[in-house]
Amino acid sequence: MTDSGRTRLSHRFDGTPGSPGIGIGPAFLLSVEELRISRRNLSGPGEVEREIRRFDAALENTREELRRLSKNVGDLIEGKQLVEIHMMLLDDPTIRRDVQDRIINDLVNAEYAVSQVLYEVLDRFSRMDDPYMRERAADVRDVGRRVMAQLMGSEREALLNLDHPVVLIGRDLDPSDTAGLDREKVLAFATDKGGSTSHTAILARSIGIPAVVGLREVAEHIQPGQTVIVDGIHGTVIIDPDQDQLHYYSELQARYRDTEENIARNATEPAVTEDGHKVELSANIEFSQEAEQVRRYGGCGVGLFRTEFLKLLAPESDDEETQYAAYRHVLETLSPEPVIIRTFDLGGDKFLSELEVSERNPFLGWRAIRVCQDRPELFEPQLRAILRASVLGNARLMIPMVTHVEQVVGIRRQLDSVADMLESEGHSVDRDMELGIMVETPAAALGIDLLLPYVDFVSLGTNDLTQYTLAVDRGSPYVANLFDPLHPTVLRQIDHVVRACHAAGKWVGICGQMAGDPLGVPLLLGFDLDELSVALTLIPDVKRMIRVMSMDGARDLAARALKLGSARRIRRLVLDFVIDRYPEVLLETVENGEDGE
């Protein structure tokens, strides 16, 4: 089989922008089991030999794995027989010869050769009359999977020993794929799965490399080594670009770098409106390494430090110490600016395998504070780490998904007892550390007066608040068009919460995506929010908007918006307001993807 008869065309795929910037370079494919194994054509005898060696090594390692397995099954006759059959399949001379023949004659990589031989064998099994024998296909598949895993293991090794920079392509990047990755060698990410808040996107943003996610089927259309353009600004991937495209994107890349430098220059300007009203503008972060970036982008602290990833990335590690090191780094780097650490928001769409439960409505189920209060072994190390770090800077603690007063009272009590315990162990803790809640359910928004006596501050999570208020899962393509944080009922709740907080003398911020939206910023200013917390990369844009606006104008806009009866009309009103007065804001704002709670 050759490709000579086919016309070469560049392919364009559209996905979701995951992290801004342009990356251009050769593709490195992360093979994943379900993925159709990619075919790579070998260049000559050297490569053929290498692939055969890889195949033999994979067989030997699988044999070793089965031997270990056979010891573990102990005296179970059935288990031993099964392992024995698996071992014989592995040693089968015809299969081995078939794979070698394919590598040599078809000049293809070992993975591809194995997969083709497996397909044939499985096909033969599936056509057998005897149902018992048909089921033996499962054994073949099992052995095949083990060999494949071995082959890909060696590929992973290759990933860790890259000698030139690459664009990483895969169905999805697992934390295990990216752990230990040499960042200097990765030009960009592109994945089939994921949204703008997926692990891949977050990781890419935190280390500042371009990424496009949610491409659905890009991985199976790319051959390793093919040139790929990843446009993380617009969410586009181009495979095998022509000269014009290469030229265009190289220029775009250079322009983007200029913008980046411009950002750095504006970072020191204060976030003050034209008429002198100062707004706290802070950053949403998820990795401790991002702390250094907060100042670079011009943020004045952290309004949301997501901690789930400390857990998801290193589930096996010593919880308390790993977390302590992360909190300590962020607090010390940014001191005396405040750092709001949000306790684990696990569940919903962020699972830890040990906590994975089957629920019909995960977002109405066991998530965030609900998980933490049920699992002291998970939560206590986190509270200990935060309290220990609290003396090193300006730490604040924030609880997500609060709906009931008892939850806050319970946390207060638990914090006290953990603090007592730490002090008795000789640690010093900040007993006055502020405790706040996220208002992201209608229960917390409408019942804010019931919760305020127990908290020091409040932060609005407008993504979830919108989802729960409008009963819309924006991940569902059937209803996503109904999702709108500018819906009158969401704005009314924001207004209500801000008024209640100020009446009680407490400060209120927002860490939702709305705070980084050019249409959200004037409204939120008008509602008198004390703090806006946005994704790192959005800080410069939001700051620029704040600096050209007047507080009077924003308040007037917010009052008028509250009188309108539909999200569509409110959107129109705000859009006209911005276009009329600050057209440059819309023109200058680069689509930076989305990020927020």
Binding site: L89, D92, P93, D130, Y132, M133, V140
Partner: protein, 88 residues
């Protein structure tokens, strides 16, 4: 080359366990050994080949071997089959 015809006597025919017995036995001999059945000719040292013969009860197999120990090999494998693989 030596060859011998045998009939599969056991109720289940050559399923996984009998196949593994044959392959294990075949591996003891240096000769090339093949089993012929229903127009197929498979390597007796290949578990995949022997399993996919799908030889049920009453099937007539031909075992052929070529090599230094072909006679012994054919006898040994034929004995395993006619013995019904120690089943039934």
């Amino acid at each position: 080359m030596t060859e011998k015809k045998v009939t599969v006597p056991n109720r289940l025919g050559i399923h996984a366990r009998p196949a593994s017995l044959l392959v294990k036995a075949a591996a003891e001999y240096a000769s090339d050994i093949h089993i012929l059945f229903g127009g197929d000719r498979v390597n007796a040292k290949s578990i995949m080949g022997v399993m996919t013969l799908a030889a049920g009860k009453g099937s007539e197999l031909t075992i052929e071997a070529d090599g230094p120990d072909e006679r012994e090999a054919v006898e040994a494998l034929a004995a395993i089959v006619s013995d019904g693989f120690g089943e039934d």
